[in-house]
């Protein structure tokens, strides 16, 4: 068995088997009536539903719309999270000044902000982006903060010994590159975190995959709901893979 698992084809075969088993279980659940009637779509109806969602011109615009507030929310949350995490980890004054505020705001779930997102931005991309950015902000804030706190202090001594002791010079030449693996892994987690809040953020009525999913569920079209779930999975996988490539390139110096 271990020999079989050691080769790539063997692992792929098992992966496919797992998938087939899952679909079989799903089909069985429908056939034998394990779920409440009408609530479980037929897995074999999903491809047709996907074609229908694309042909009817709903899926692609929904993906496009989701990507707009996804990109904005991700960019804003990442930039601010890294910046505030960096300031907190490198400036004792800033750290002390923001500590209580961060402690109070941190436990508030991003979705709790939906109320204010609607009040401030109405139903718009900006509102959804705002809600998404909050979750992303905290992920990046903590990742950046702890990555910087873990930078080897001996590198700072090196910087001071060779004329890079000033705040900007030191953090540009030592802190940022030294903390980059941690910062990048925070950014990558944020890419996922943003998806997690995206669908919920769209419940406030901004067009996107979440809204389409909700609309499909409203009319009992559960096969279409599955189509949107799979579309979300696909877009996330592509985004994560793209980020993985960037990360690999930037961290080529690591053994």
């Amino acid at each position: 068995m271990t020999g079989f698992l050691a080769n790539r084809a063997g692992r792929a075969a098992l992966g496919a088997l797992g998938l087939v088993a899952f679909v079989a279980l799903w089909k069985a659940a429908g056939t034998f009536g394990w779920a409440r009637p009408g609530t479980l779509p037929d897995p074999f109806a999903v491809p047709a539903a996907a074609i229908d969602e694309i042909a009817s011109g709903r899926l692609l615009p929904a993906v496009g719309s989701s990507l707009v507030h996804y990109a904005w929310g991700l960019a804003m949350g990442s930039a601010l999270g890294v910046l505030v995490g960096l300031l907190a980890a490198t400036s004792r004054g800033f750290d002390a000044g923001h500590a209580w505020l961060a402690r109070i705001l941190r436990p508030i779930p991003p979705l709790a902000w939906v109320v204010f997102a609607i009040a401030w931005f109405q139903v718009s991309h900006a509102g959804a982006a705002f809600v998404i950015s909050i979750g992303v902000f905290w992920v990046n804030y903590f990742a950046t903060h702890s990555a910087i706190r873990n930078v080897d202090p001996r590198l700072y001594e090196l910087a001071r010994a060779f004329g890079h002791g000033a705040y900007l010079a030191m953090h540009r030449t030592v802190t940022l590159p030294a903390a980059s693996p941690g910062i990048l892994s925070g950014l990558r987690t944020g890419v996922g975190q943003a998806w997690m809040t995206l669908i919920a953020a769209e419940l406030l009525g901004v067009p996107g995959m979440g809204q389409e999913m909700n609309a499909a569920a409203g009319v009992g079209a559960y096969d279409a709901v599955v189509v949107y779930m799979l579309a979300i999975s696909l877009v996330y996988t592509l985004a994560d893979a793209a980020f993985g490539l960037v990360e690999h390139r930037l961290l080529g110096w690591r053994p």
């Binding site: 090196l158 060779f162 004329g163 010079a169 030449t173 030294a178 053994p255």
Partner: protein
């Protein structure tokens, strides 16, 4: 070049939470071009003294003065760390140029300086490698190259060869001597290895006690090429041992 490159006077340094001072009323000078070995047992404060001299640790009292004239495009002192301490995300070339950034040198001249010390330390063929692709001895030579690139009048070396194997250490010791002759820089070389001090230095300074005092300050007049394996060093080595 004559006269001193470094004058430390009245140094007092006590770490917070420590009952006794590491240094107290400590005076010390290094002459231009001189190779001084600073020997002492572990914890006696030789690395601390080196850090004070390097400007990395502020003394509670006393002053450290660099006596050579400041020249643009140069740092008057540079340090070689025990652990090599290269920046893992920079290739060797970038690591060696680290101290040259911020000196206001044109990029072309920075590159020339890096090439020059790469040749001097026999690292030219590894210039584009990352630190994790270098051997322990190469990392140590890179640390020396980085320090030499800023053309220091005083090269501070903190047990630079203590972490490498015996064969590499011997090679590096020979190279340190060659580099010292080629560049004419003064070297303050911290070591706990009596043999090493006796092999390399023109002047051996032994630290002992708490706070640290100079227990021996001895010139070594035997030519370097006659030292390795020579019994002439035996009296010197035993005097250092006694002072410790």
């Amino acid at each position: 070049m004559t006269g001193s490159v470094l004058t430390a006077s009245g140094l007092r340094l006590q770490f917070p939470g420590s009952a006794t001072a590491t240094l107290d009323g400590f005076d010390f000078t290094v002459d231009a071009g001189e190779f001084v070995a600073l020997v002492g047992g572990s914890g006696v404060g030789k690395s601390t003294l080196l850090r004070v001299v390097a400007g990395l640790l502020a003394p509670n009292e006393g002053t450290v003065t660099l006596d050579s004239p400041a020249v643009s495009g140069q740092r008057r002192r540079a340090i070689v760390f025990q652990d090599g301490r290269l920046l893992p995300w920079r290739r060797l070339r970038g690591n060696i140029g680290f101290g040259l950034e911020g000196l206001g040198l044109p990029a072309v001249e920075r590159e020339e300086r890096v090439d020059e010390v790469l040749r001097l330390t026999r690292l030219a063929e590894y210039a584009d490698r990352y630190p994790h692709q270098l051997s322990g001895g190469q990392v140590q030579r890179a640390g020396i190259a980085r320090a030499l690139a800023v053309k220091p009048d005083l090269l501070l070396m903190d047990e630079p060869f203590s972490a490498v194997d015996a064969i590499t250490r011997k090679t590096l010791q020979e190279e340190a001597l060659r580099i010292w002759r080629d560049t004419g820089t003064a070297i303050l070389f911290v070591t706990h290895d009596i043999q090493e001090a006796a092999l390399l230095a023109e002047r051996v300074v032994v630290l002992s006690g708490q706070p640290a005092r100079i227990a021996l300050d001895q010139r070594v007049d035997i030519p370097h090429e006659d030292r390795r394996g020579s019994s002439d060093l035996t009296p010197l080595i035993s005097r250092i041992s006694e002072a410790l």
